[in-house]
């Protein structure tokens, strides 16, 4: 039986029999023998894509389940609303914008401190602040929305 796998968006068809080349050696770590070459592959599962690292290079890999027809390629926000999220857990130490402010690409929005470093979350493109969802001093988790732009 064939499996369809998207590696950074590029489709690779693999046969289930090929999975015999993979041996799970430690939690999240697979030893792969490909054409006689030995690779260690680290897999962090995720939906729809797993984050995979091979020799320091990262790949986003989506394994298409043949039983399911939904092939949700993740939506990329090009225009419209944009949620600016915290990339890591931390503490909000400064909010640099207010609701209604016009912001330009690269402008700082919120400063989050984690592991003793202050990190300024910046606007990815020009827009307007339609919501500030955090307050000074809030503890935020990874992926939490800080500011909504449009």
């Amino acid at each position: 039986m064939k499996l369809q796998v998207l590696v950074d968006g590029r489709a690779i068809e693999i046969d289930r029999a090929q999975l015999e080349a993979a041996a799970q050696v430690e939690p999240g770590v697979f030893s792969l023998l490909v054409n006689g070459h030995s690779f260690e592959v680290r897999v962090l599962p995720g939906k729809p894509e797993a984050r995979v690292e091979v020799r320091g290079t990262r790949f986003a890999v989506e394994v298409r389940d043949p039983r399911s027809t939904s092939s949700t390629s993740s939506a990329r926000a090009g225009t419209g609303r944009q949620n600016v999220t915290a990339p890591m857990p931390g503490k909000v130490i400064r909010i640099l914008v207010q609701k209604g402010d016009a912001v330009s690409a690269g402008q700082g929005l919120v400063v989050v401190e984690a592991m003793k470093m202050q990190n300024e979350m910046k606007a990815a493109r020009d827009g307007r602040v339609i919501e500030v969802r955090v307050q000074d001093g809030d503890t935020v988790s990874a992926g939490q929305t800080l500011v909504v732009l449009e």
């Binding site: 950074d8 799970q24 790949f59 990339p87 401190e113 202050q118 992926g143």
Partner: protein
């Protein structure tokens, strides 16, 4: 010699000190905050005591709690490690007041060298050149403007009480000065409870070279050579080595800089270990930067090249022993290099990456030393700095030590938190790095010219097979460890594909 020593620190350095104590058959007492109950240093120490809540102010910076723990456990000395209270004269004095030996210089020496402005004055009196700059903190904006103009841009803002790059900012033009002072001051206030910053001239293309010094309580002082720490990101050292490639080409400079460092140490009546930091330009000029009155993070490179154990040396000196060797006995053999392995994501602006380490394999083998503070299953807290471990290698020469580090990096495996491991391979393979042409902005320039990482069809197939095997096996990693904010991942991948 001491019978029992309390370690007022955490992470890899606390583990390092436990090891030195055990090597000397001295009992160790660890301290911990609530998030560090299961930390490696607590597991390895003979005894341990809770300090308090996770924020440093309530735990590793809480002098009263630490002294209480030392008394309760019957410790006769305290080793402060680096960071936290290690350069706090008040803490050193409080230890002495409580009848405990502080393993480090006297409170008076810390005071005289701890303030950067006072240290500069002392260096100038000792006939050691300093970078031109302010003698007083930049408290008034008009004064700061006038001084920066007089020095000429670019200038550098530095926290008076600082270290480790906190509260430090490069300023290229007057328009940036006001906001830079505000940011640097607030960062310094948070990190050190002291928001004072001062201004100095920025020396262009300088190397960061520091001299390790050691002195006993009887006035014997000597130096243990240099470390080159020019590879820094946001003023945080990332890769350090001994010898300095520049000093290897100009060997007379080791004695010259060593002697300058000792003049400062003598002027401050220094005892125990310390490090005198210099900026050096390519013409043989060097300028005093500051003295770190403690053990350095990067001390292992000196240990591997000199064959000394610097933590044991600190303990002997603090216990009142004389330096067991003379300057002429110090030999530098081969080359050592260190990589600071941090929980941060080089594919995503080096954002910190705290979380649970699902899997870990640290390298070993000939010439490799790993000073680590973590283990598989450990959750890296977000309250403290992101250093997980130091990967250190020794080899007869620089080319071989680089090769050894590359080998060790290929063996190193971490799942669950992002690390900068792959970034070290980029550094070590860089032609300019291999040529030893280093300067403090080297990494910023390297990052600007980074290329997408290598990817072959075989690697892609391996990635596909690995992910497919993982999904058919069921997830070995718990749901909460899954990737964070996908937008950042997508951004990183977008860069990769361009």
């Amino acid at each position: 010699m001491f019978r029992k020593v309390l370690i007022a620190n955490r992470g890899e350095i606390a583990v390092r000190i436990v090891r030195a104590l055990r090597d000397m058959d001295i009992a160790s007492v660890a301290v911990f905050s609530d998030v560090d109950r299961g930390a490696l240093h607590v597991r390895l120490a003979d005894e341990a005591e809770r300090l308090g809540a996770p924020p440093s102010a309530e735990s590793y910076l809480n002098i009263e709690r630490i002294l209480d723990a030392a008394k309760k456990h019957g410790a006769d000395a305290i080793h402060p490690g680096y960071g936290f209270l290690s350069e706090n004269a008040e803490f050193a004095a409080a230890c002495e007041g409580a009848g405990l030996t502080f393993i480090g210089p006297s409170p008076d020496s810390i005071r005289r060298l701890g303030s950067k402005t006072a240290a500069r004055t002392l260096a100038k009196r000792a006939n050691v050149p300093v970078v031109p700059g302010s003698e007083e903190p930049a408290t008034r904006l008009d004064h700061a403007r006038a001084l920066a103009k007089q020095l000429g841009y670019p200038v550098l803002l530095k926290a008076a009480a600082g270290g480790g790059g906190k509260g430090m900012r490069r300023v290229d033009a007057e328009a940036e000065l006001e906001s830079a002072i505000r940011d640097a001051s607030s960062e310094a206030e948070r990190a050190f409870h002291n928001g004072e910053v001062y201004i100095e001239k920025l020396v262009e293309l300088p190397r960061h070279i520091e001299i390790q010094i050691a002195g006993d309580r009887y006035g014997n002082l000597l130096h243990l050579g240099e470390r080159e720490c020019s590879l820094q990101r946001r003023h945080q050292k990332i890769v350090e080595e001994c010898p300095s490639p520049w000093i290897a080409l100009n060997p007379e400079m080791r004695a010259e800089m060593g002697e300058a460092a000792l003049r400062i140490a003598r002027a401050a009546s220094y005892s125990n270990l310390g490090t005198v930091e210099f900026l050096a330009d390519q013409y043989g000029n060097f300028y005093f930067l500051e003295v770190n009155t403690r053990l350095q993070v990067e001390h292992p490179v000196t240990e591997l090249v000199t064959g000394l154990d610097l933590v044991q040396l600190q303990l002997r000196i603090a216990a009142g022993e004389q330096l067991p060797f003379a300057q002429s006995d110090v030999r530098w053999n081969g080359w050592a290099m260190e990589c600071r392995v941090c929980a941060e994501d080089p594919e995503n602006q080096f954002f910190p990456s705290p979380g649970r380490i699902a899997q870990l394999r640290e390298p070993a083998g000939s010439g490799i030393r790993v000073d680590s503070g973590v283990y598989p299953g450990w959750t890296v807290p977000l309250e403290y700095d992101p250093l997980l471990a130091k990967l250190v290698a020794w080899a007869p020469d620089r080319t071989q030590v680089i090769q050894r580090l590359l080998r060790a990096l290929a063996e190193y495996s971490v799942v669950g938190v992002q690390t900068n491991l792959a970034f070290f391979a980029e550094i070590l393979n860089d032609a300019e790095f291999r040529a030893g042409r280093l300067y403090t902005a080297f990494l910023a320039d390297l990052i600007a010219r980074r290329k997408p990482r290598e990817r072959s069809p075989e690697m892609e197939l391996a990635a596909a097979l690995g992910a497919a095997a993982a999904s058919s096996n069921g997830s070995p990693v718990r749901a909460e460890e899954k990737q964070d904010g996908s937008r950042w991942v997508l951004d990183g991948r977008g860069r990769l594909l361009r």
